[in-house]
């Protein structure tokens, strides 16, 4: 399988969009660190940006790549190789190259301007989000054969996780204001990888003091080794759930 990844990677890495994406992230990160003044402020603005653009690019690129590689995958299927291998190679190829773009575009500036645990959390979050949204992209792609429809579903998914979900949460929290919601918000956070990533990074920043009692509760949970382990386990779950469902569909459907 790793042979296949090598070729998929080779193809994607030379993709103009990936190069543009890397440069975009690089310029933006450097710009934000210069504008922000303090490294913390730079990280904070970067966080906002990362959690908006990385999912969008990942899901759109993942979906279009899947549809563009359709005939190639057909060709591979005609070869003596398991379908799941083809699928996973494609998946890893896309997510690894997007992660690499992210690693260069954001990781290098972070290492230069704001090295430390917070930066590391931001990078990990970004990479996880990349893997998660590529998985979602592949899920969207195997659901329908129509490219336009697939991209539509992908965009809806992005819209949901980046925007609608938070709106729903706000609505729920507001409606049930009389209830003790601190722990419920923990669960609600876990239900959206974007929120989970954001909270993880925020807790490492000064801003966490502004999160008051709820933030203190979060901190007591995410501050421990166990809490972080659980948070990242949830992230892993967020990668595996869509990925494995997509693989299942892919294995059982006609090309």
């Amino acid at each position: 399988m790793n042979k296949l990844i090598k070729y998929v990677l080779y193809d994607i890495v030379r993709n103009k969009i990936i190069v543009a994406y890397t440069l975009f992230l690089l310029l933006l990160s450097i710009g934000l660190f210069h504008l922000g003044g303090s490294p913390d402020k730079g990280l904070l603005s970067l966080l906002n940006l990362v959690l908006l653009t990385v999912p969008l690019i990942s899901i759109v690129f993942g979906t279009t790549h899947f549809y563009n590689s359709y005939e190639f995958m057909e060709l591979l299927v005609s070869q003596p190789i398991k379908r799941s291998k083809i699928f996973l190679s494609e998946y890893l190829g896309v997510s690894l190259s997007l992660s690499a773009a992210f690693g260069i575009g954001v990781g290098v500036p972070v290492l230069l301007f704001a090295p430390g645990a917070t930066g590391l959390f931001l990078l990990l979050t970004g990479i996880f989000v990349t893997f998660i949204f590529v998985a979602l992209a592949f899920l969207a792609s195997v659901i329908t054969r129509d490219k336009a429809k697939g991209i539509g579903i992908a965009l809806l998914l992005w819209f949901y996780f980046a925007l609608i979900y938070d709106g729903l949460v706000l609505f729920v929290l507001y409606s049930f204001g009389d209830y003790p919601l601190e722990k419920a918000t923990l669960v609600l956070t876990a239900l959206n990888p974007v929120d989970l990533g954001r909270v993880l990074v925020l807790l490492n920043l000064d801003v966490s003091a502004m999160m008051g009692y709820t933030g203190a509760l979060y901190k007591s949970i995410f501050g421990s080794g166990w809490g972080i382990a659980i948070a990242f386990a949830v992230m892993v779950l967020w990668v595996l759930l869509p990925l494995l469902s997509a693989r299942r569909v892919f294995q059982k459907r006609d090309l």
């Binding site: 722990k183 669960v187 469902s245």
Partner: protein
């Protein structure tokens, strides 16, 4: 298949969410991390904290029994429905006792955070012993509310 899996996951999460939200029970007072619901000061002295848990299980923290009493007086619509009204046992910091069962000592020698000199303990014997040591008067919760209403401080 996906639909069924998603359904399972969703319902599991809903149950989790419900379980996390709906237990009506006293919560430990987060000293140093919460502000008093009544006076907004930091709840920080673990011998004096107080708590109100509403009928839905949401806790409100107070830095002192007098703040809880003031809140109860000012917000009858909340406190009438409260599931728990709790104060800290002075002799067992971090331990909460229900106000109806608490014995309060008002003594000039023991300053509580909000200046009413109110100290709560769980059992009567300790209360009497402390009264002998520090002077002052013993009160129950009803009398505390009355004292707070009239701002009666020890002389």
């Amino acid at each position: 298949m996906i639909n069924r899996t998603t359904l399972y996951t969703l319902s599991l999460l809903l149950v989790l969410l419900g379980a996390a939200a709906c237990s009506v029970e006293p919560k430990p007072v987060p000293y140093g991390e919460a502000n008093c619901t009544h006076c907004q000061m930091t709840v920080s002295d673990n011998r004096y904290g107080a708590e109100l848990v509403n009928d839905k299980g949401k806790p409100f923290f107070f830095d002192a029994a007098e703040c809880l009493a003031s809140y109860v007086i000012e917000q009858p619509e909340v406190s009438d429905k409260a599931a728990y009204l709790l104060v800290t046992d002075f002799t067992n910091p971090n331990t909460l006792i229900e106000v109806e069962k608490a014995h309060f000592l008002q003594s000039k020698e023991l300053a509580s955070p909000m200046g009413m000199f109110l100290t709560a303990v769980a059992d009567e014997a300790t209360a009497t012993k402390m009264q002998q040591e520090y002077g002052g008067r013993l009160l129950n919760w009803e009398e505390i509310k009355e004292a707070v209403r009239n701002n009666e401080k020890p002389q």
